[in-house]
């Protein structure tokens, strides 16, 4: 079922949590709301759920498919909601937790006990917890509890599944597993889901489309790779990964900053360039276009790439570069070594909302 938000705003007292915003989510889509804390993403999710009321002043509307639900109570919206801290009923067994939605139905519409039992067992099978039906939530691990809470949310076959930082309280390995498993479940059952996260990796890996938010506004809505490749503004660029900054004065097509020089095709004036760690090349001698002397201060050879921390007099804060293990070995990088950086690519956002421009290093050897 599609979700359509129009002109939704929220203020708490004098603080605006959400500026009026529109959002369309397609049928069967898995959408991530991504942003730092305080960006309004959880508020937006709770408004979709009906746990929070949007402001009345700019009259907004929420539609699930053709059904308007703006003023529909949360219990009648037919949503499934998964809470960050699971919110399981700890005095009930796993079975009773999952069955709650069915047993809480009015007697006229409630399925028979046998059918409830069959449905709950099917759900527990789906979340691979059949063996734990009689346990109490306190006897389960965090990941298992979150799976119970998912099964509970799906028991009523909701139109929309909403997840509030579903993996936020779990450790990294379990988070990975659950993420993959949720994606799988989503593709299999084909419901529409919206989840909130502050973890950009999670958002990019899991979502069909990502909604990046900050300060109660939507900064960009795009598919993960578009988002990463073509960030709409500086906030999105900085939020989606590590960023190195180079600030200096441009004169005659060359940016200088202390001992650092870089050839750029920009107008004269003060400029700030942003560079991703994997877009930096470490070399032993400066090139004609780039003279950026740095000193290696830390090396972390864990993972697919080696992370190298760089410092220099002309840098306000250290840079981070990621290099391939082959290059790492060829250059024999160690702490205290003096090297030069050649950027393969850089970006510049002249103003918060203005168009961006990118540059490519002219030479590559």
């Amino acid at each position: 079922m599609s979700i359509r938000l129009k002109n939704i705003a929220k203020t708490f007292g004098d603080n605006s949590a959400l500026a009026p915003l529109d959002l369309d989510i397609g049928d069967g889509e898995l959408v991530g709301l991504l942003g730092p804390s305080g960006s309004g993403k959880t508020t937006l999710l709770r408004i979709i759920a009906g746990l929070e009321q949007a402001d009345r002043a700019p009259a907004g509307s929420i539609h699930f498919g053709d059904r308007e639900v703006t003023n529909v109570h949360v219990r009648d919206r037919r949503i499934g909601f998964v809470f960050q801290h699971y919110a399981l009923f700890r005095h009930m067994s796993v079975f009773d937790n999952v069955a709650f939605g069915l047993t809480a139905m009015p007697r006229r519409t409630r399925p028979s006990n046998g059918e409830i039992r069959a449905r709950v067992h099917r759900l527990l099978e789906m979340v691979r917890l059949e063996a734990f039906a009689d346990r109490y939530p306190a006897q389960l691990s965090g990941g298992q509890q979150q799976r119970v809470s998912l099964a509970r949310a799906l028991a009523l076959q909701p139109d929309v599944l909403l997840l509030d930082e579903p993996f936020g309280a779990l450790d990294a390995k379990v988070r990975q597993d659950l993420r993959r498993w949720l994606r799988h479940l989503h593709d299999e059952l084909n419901f529409t889901s919206v989840f909130v996260t502050h973890d950009q990796e999670e958002a990019l890996e899991l979502s069909d489309r990502v909604v990046v938010m900050s300060n109660g506004r939507i900064e960009q809505i795009d598919e993960p790779d578009t988002l990463y490749r073509k960030p709409a503004n500086r906030f999105v660029f900085e939020f989606l990964g590590d960023v190195n900054r180079l600030e200096g004065e441009v004169r005659d097509g060359e940016l200088t900053c202390g001992a650092a020089r870089l050839t750029v095709d920009l107008d004269e004036g003060r400029e700030e360039l942003l560079l991703r760690p994997h877009e930096l090349r470490l070399i032993e001698a400066p090139t004609a276009h780039a003279h950026l002397p740095v000193c290696v201060t830390a090396v972390s050879p864990v993972g697919a790439e080696v992370r190298v921390e760089l410092e220099a007099d002309w840098l306000a804060e250290p840079w981070l570069a990621t290099v391939r293990h082959a290059d790492f070995e060829r250059l024999a990088i160690r702490r205290g070594q003096h090297l030069f950086v050649e950027p393969r690519r850089w970006r510049r956002f002249s103003d918060e909302r203005a168009a961006r421009s990118t540059g490519r290093a002219v030479a590559s050897s």
Partner: protein, 285 residues
Amino acid sequence: MNTLALLGRSAPKRVLPGFGLSLGITLLFVSLVLLLPLTSLVGQLAGVSLAEYWAIISEPRVVASYLVTIGAAAAASMVNALFGLLMAWVLVRYEFPGKRLLDALMDLPFALPTAVAGITLATLYSSSGWMGRLLAPLGIEVAYTWVGIALAMAFTSIPFVVRTVQPVLEDLPHEIDEAALTLGASDATAFRRVILPNLWPALVTGTGLAFVRSLGEFGAVIFIAGNMPYETEITSLMIFVKLQEYDYVGASAIASVVLAVSLALLLALNLWQGRFIRRLHGGKG
């Protein structure tokens, strides 16, 4: 080698220091303040034969006082369970001006001398008092009846319920009721099936404490009770009467009954609550 073996045999060292000292002081205090008076109470009974003891505690007037006390205490604690729960709910779940004041007011029955409470209630509900005058035309008599006793008991013991339920309710995350609502439950269902079971142990404990406190209440009750033999005499009064007659043995005998009942009740409550809490923390239900 030798020292290692010695070390191995000695008791494992506790990480938290001061166990011996703190337990010692605690036991000393408990002995002086709690056990010593209780022992002397039992000591008073040493010279009495079982038959004599039974005769004292099963005297018809005393038995009548048991019934009055237990009945009134039961009524008072039931009322307190209901209103104490409501009170705790209001204090935890809503924000309103004067909330802090109301919160502080809840402890007043603890702070107020019980005799003051008793005299105030008696004046208020006597046939010429403010409330008494209003209730008299309706045929409701409070002062000098069984209802008055229950009222005084309820007054002095309501903080027990509020103060045991309140912290549990505060710890109960809002998400629990939100989860119930997203699953389509009505407000009543959410309260009955999700919130109440979590409050249940605290509510029962608080009500039990209020009941035990009511059993022993003296000051607040005697002024409003009227103290008519066989009708509105409470057990504490019977003890007081015996003492005034210098019948220490009789007083101790009746007191020992109250003590035994209170102790048994408190123990039962503790055991029951322990079982409930074990389940919440992962034991087998």
